[in-house]
């Protein structure tokens, strides 16, 4: 459509919506109401656009069409992030029912028993799935859960007088936020490099890194590569031996539902991203929920509030002395919890397990197909080991053969086939020209075959028609912006006023 920016739209005097005004009697009682503001009364109107409602609606409807969400394309491209189908029934319940949308989080407990019950019951479900003793839904994202876990570790050690424990160990193929969110608290972060053959951290190196200073470990498993670390319980045991706590980054638990849990692997803390594994849509990046689980011993440190049940009534417990305190407004992102609740109640134990089984089956199938059919792809690290819900692949050979067309080129062109760009890898890259698709439980064989076919076509185009690919995409709603990476301050425009200064001189 080539939609203009709203800041350039509009006509003086037009209104998008009218606002309920005070009644005449109210006005006659209080006057204009704003004179009392004195010198902090606004002097000049904000330069917002003046656009009629039909046009505002049309503008945003059109912009909404300029997206490739899981609702209109295959959400296979974003490995580690699990772009599932978000059942419409959940979306409608969550966004249209006044018994959720119109509820104030501070209204009396007896007036919101339904909400508290869902909160409580979902905790019971997540406890069973993760094997933990308590679960909090307050963290708003995976990173927030990791940060909160780190705070719990810190609080625990403080309570136990372990002031010397100031190191955290993670692995390179764990999510970068494991390093960042622990570092922010002042921990020294030790990152274990993967073994070049297995892709996994070495148990020996890990043990060598452990010491009395180790406060905790933060590990993803399966790691981003899709490889499951089969010595995981030895890692946690070794950590426990030096008095460290073990936190499991299960942001993406899609391969493990009903299959393997944090408890058996020896973890003390964990989190699930409800907006990945448990079907809540990503919303372009939130609101999400990092469900944080812990063992009984750590429960006193959980963020507040928690929801408790005395057998007849649900109540919100704000009175938690050892708690790390409020970490998120009110009850967190509760609608995300409702979606997870509905999803788990729909599937039940058997269905949840099938979600894991099919995720892994789909991924192993797709990995085989890609390696067979798409030219220029390699699989690094133990090719004989079955991957879990995703596979870190590499367009290294394509890059070599074409003298420079790798995953970036493939991504640019893939958009023309109605598929969102492939996620590559977290930084730093351990595999050249990486890409990490995740076909998860929502896609069928035909979807996967179509996806592989598109990859194959694009890879062949890179080989046969590199000039054409270099100019891609052709069918995107826009051309590529000149400053994708905003490579210097002078070309970063996060607002229209900056844009005007930078580019409309």
């Amino acid at each position: 459509w080539n939609e203009p920016v709203i800041m350039e739209m509009g006509t003086p005097g037009e209104r998008g919506i009218l606002v309920p005004q005070a009644e005449a009697a109210v006005k006659s009682e209080v006057g204009d109401g704003v004179s009392v503001l004195g010198k902090v009364r606004r002097k000049s109107r904000p330069a917002l656009p003046e656009v009629n409602q039909a046009l505002v609606n049309r503008h945003y409807i059109r912009l909404s069409q300029e997206n490739m969400g899981a609702d209109n394309t295959l959400g296979i491209s974003q490995g580690t992030c699990t772009l599932k189908y978000s059942p419409k029934v959940q979306e409608h319940v969550v966004s249209r029912h006044p018994g959720l949308a119109g509820v104030h989080p501070l209204q009396s407990e007896e007036s919101m028993q339904g909400i508290l019950k869902i909160y409580y019951e979902t905790e019971q479900i997540m406890k069973e799935i993760g094997g933990m003793d308590r679960v909090s839904f307050l963290p708003a994202s995976g990173g927030h859960a990791i940060y909160s876990n780190a705070q719990i570790i810190s609080a625990y050690h403080k309570a136990n007088g372990n002031s010397h424990k100031n190191e955290i160990i993670t692995t390179l193929h764990s999510h970068p936020v494991d390093a960042a969110a622990t570092s922010i608290l002042g921990y020294r972060v030790i990152t274990l490099m993967p073994d070049e053959k297995t892709g996994l951290p070495s148990l020996e190196e890990f043990k060598a890194a452990l010491s009395d200073k180790t406060a905790g470990i933060f590990i993803t498993n399966p790691e981003d590569t899709g490889i499951y670390n089969d010595q995981i319980d030895e890692f946690t045991k070794a950590a426990h031996d030096v008095g460290a706590l073990c936190a499991y980054d299960q942001a993406n638990a899609n391969a493990l539902l009903g299959i393997a849990r944090a408890r058996e692997a020896g973890f003390d803390l964990m989190h699930f991203n409800l907006h990945k594994t448990f079907s809540s849509p990503h919303g372009g990046g939130g609101p999400g929920c990092g469900a944080l689980g812990c063992i009984e011993e750590l429960a006193p440190y959980l963020p507040k509030p928690t929801v408790e049940f005395d057998g007849s009534k649900y109540r919100v417990d704000y009175d938690r002395e050892q708690s790390i305190g409020h970490i998120k407004a009110f009850l967190g992102n509760f609608p995300v919890v409702v979606r997870a609740y509905m999803w788990c109640r729909t599937l039940g134990a058997e269905g949840l397990k099938q979600a894991a089984v099919i995720s892994v089956l789909n991924n192993q199938y797709m990995t085989d197909e890609i390696l067979e059919k798409v030219p220029g792809v390699s699989l690094h690290y133990s090719p004989e080991v079955r991957r879990m819900e995703q596979t870190r692949l590499s367009f290294d050979k394509l890059f070599e053969k074409t003298g420079g067309l790798g995953i970036d080129a493939v991504n640019a062109r893939l958009v023309d086939y109605g598929i969102s760009e492939l996620w590559q890898s977290h930084h730093p890259y351990t595999v050249p020209e990486p890409f990490t698709p995740e076909p998860c439980d929502s896609y069928n064989k035909e979807d996967i075959d179509y996806y592989v076919e598109a990859l194959k076509t694009v890879a062949n185009e890179c080989l046969e028609n590199p000039e054409m690919v270099a100019q891609a995409p052709y069918k995107a709603s826009r051309h590529v912006p000149n400053h994708v990476m905003g490579e210097s301050f002078e070309v970063v425009a996060s607002t229209w006023r900056q844009y005007v200064r930078r580019f409309k001189k």
């Binding site: 209080v30 004195g38 997206n67 490739m68 970068p176 607002t495």
Partner: protein
């Protein structure tokens, strides 16, 4: 109940023929072979969950019955705020953020230009509303935005002391504390400044006394948690500037059609919650934080989150969008070297706020501000006419105000119970967190309240005291 023969509508490859074909292709005969890299002893033995409600109708009815039991805006009247308030959400906002292409979008660059444009437009309109220049992806909520703003101020000034109002939202106080947490010491050292017990304005004397060359930032709320519009804002900003400190303003954006923009009275960092800009209460989920700075390099690079930015494309006059601008700032790029971590935030809510601002325009924002001020002043006057009821602070207020029931001999808790019997939620009980205010409650009146609603509130309280 185990029934392997169920084909799940959300898990298409549970269709037996397909599943068999895939299993054959990957060379397994039993589905557990897929997991042969997991040692036997780590496998989960059983999963005890409530019985499945396989069909959509059953789970929907079950959930809706639970939700229907909750008092809500269509069953009750709310005069309860304290960080979450009953504002009107235009239908177009619901329409747009309910569009599947948006709510299920994620991280496309060229694939998701529409989403990025909507975010850029939100950012641009916020800049006009706040009179600030730069903004990145949102924070989880206002509390987190305050924490982030403070960390930015500390990094920029190289100082640690931060002066904040004692009357601040107590929940946000804790969130900030958490945000500033550290294993050895807090990232910043917070000192609280009291408020004038008559006016509710910041105690300038105390501020001047504590403000020094170790101060990283002076932080104010405007309006304050207790509803008072900080009329001394410009002066406070000047004091901060003189001390070489950042001036952080936490503003409720819906006030900014009538209250001056923070950027216009000296704020170097603005933060707050966009809850009032078209988000539903959603049991407290309808919140998201913003942090904005002026168009200066040293500020922009301190924003921790991914940033949507616009730049021209190869086609004359065309604008394109990217959400990885200045990516090297972020923890995605440099892990523990980043100043803070980033990740999933509250992106969808910025789209709601963007549509809201586009609908409202300058006149709408002015109208809503005026409407809220008039209605809340009316409510305050009418309540003050009740015997034993007093409006506690004399400064001008926006949307919320402190009502002291001490003179009635009834506690806030008792009055709120009486109100609830009439399907009204009274104000937020301040008696435990602000004991100096006696049996006071923080009442919230917005554009959605009619004169009749307010009169009914007053009559009901009258009957209860």
């Amino acid at each position: 109940m185990t029934d392997n023969r169920v084909v799940y509508p959300y898990i298409p490859n549970t269709a037996p023929e397909t599943k068999a074909a895939l299993m054959k292709k990957v060379n397994v005969t039993d589905e557990m072979e897929l997991f042969n890299s997991i040692p036997e002893h780590l496998l989960q033995k059983e999963m005890n969950l409530p019985e499945a409600m396989l069909d959509e109708y059953t789970v929907r009815r079950h959930t809706e019955e639970l939700l229907a039991g909750n008092a809500n805006l269509s069953t009750h009247k709310y005069f309860l705020g304290a960080g979450c308030a009953p504002h009107y959400v235009p239908a177009v906002v619901d329409e747009i953020i309910g569009r599947g292409e948006l709510s299920t979008a994620y991280a496309g660059l060229m694939a998701d230009q529409g989403k990025s444009q909507i975010q850029f437009e939100y950012q641009s309109m916020m800049a006009e509303l706040l009179d600030m220049d730069c903004i990145a992806m949102p924070q989880y909520d206002g509390g987190a935005s305050a924490g982030h703003a403070i960390r930015i101020a500390c990094r920029i000034t190289g100082r640690r002391k931060v002066l904040m109002p004692k009357s601040m939202n107590p929940q946000n106080k804790e969130i900030v504390n958490n945000y500033l947490g550290g294993i050895d010491q807090q990232y910043a050292q917070i000192e609280y400044i009291g408020y004038d017990s008559d006016t509710g304005l910041l105690d300038l004397d105390e501020l001047k006394q504590k403000l020094d060359d170790q101060t990283a930032a002076v932080f104010i709320e405007n309006p304050t948690f207790l509803g008072i519009v900080e009329t001394q804002a410009e002066e406070i900003g000047q004091l901060a500037k003189t001390a070489g400190a950042e001036f952080i303003v936490y503003a409720d954006p819906i006030s900014l059609g009538v209250v001056e923009a923070p950027g216009s009275y000296g704020a170097t960092i603005a933060c707050g919650d966009i809850h009032s800009l078209g988000l539903h209460m959603l049991a407290g989920c309808g919140v998201a934080g913003y942090v904005m700075v002026k168009d200066k390099k040293e500020y922009l690079y301190e924003l921790k989150d991914q940033m949507v930015a616009a730049s021209p494309t190869s086609v004359e006059g065309e604008i394109g969008f990217s959400w990885v601008a200045a990516f090297e700032r972020t923890s995605y790029a440099v892990r523990e070297e980043a100043s803070e971590f980033t990740g999933t935030n509250a992106a969808l809510w910025t789209m709601a706020a963007g549509v809201y601002l586009a609908l409202m325009g300058p006149q709408g924002m002015e109208d809503v501000g005026e409407s809220i001020m008039q209605k809340s002043q009316y409510a305050a006057r009418k309540l003050a006419e009740l015997p034993g009821v007093e409006i506690k602070l004399s400064g001008p207020f926006f949307k919320e105000f402190v009502v002291d029931f001490s003179g009635t001999g009834r506690s806030v808790s008792e009055i709120n119970k009486s109100l609830m019997n009439q399907k009204i939620f009274g104000g937020y009980d301040l008696s435990s967190t602000f004991p100096e205010l006696g049996q006071s409650a923080l009442y919230c009146v917005t554009e959605i309240h009619t004169q009749k609603d307010i009169d009914e509130l007053v009559e009901t309280i009258k009957a209860a005291i």
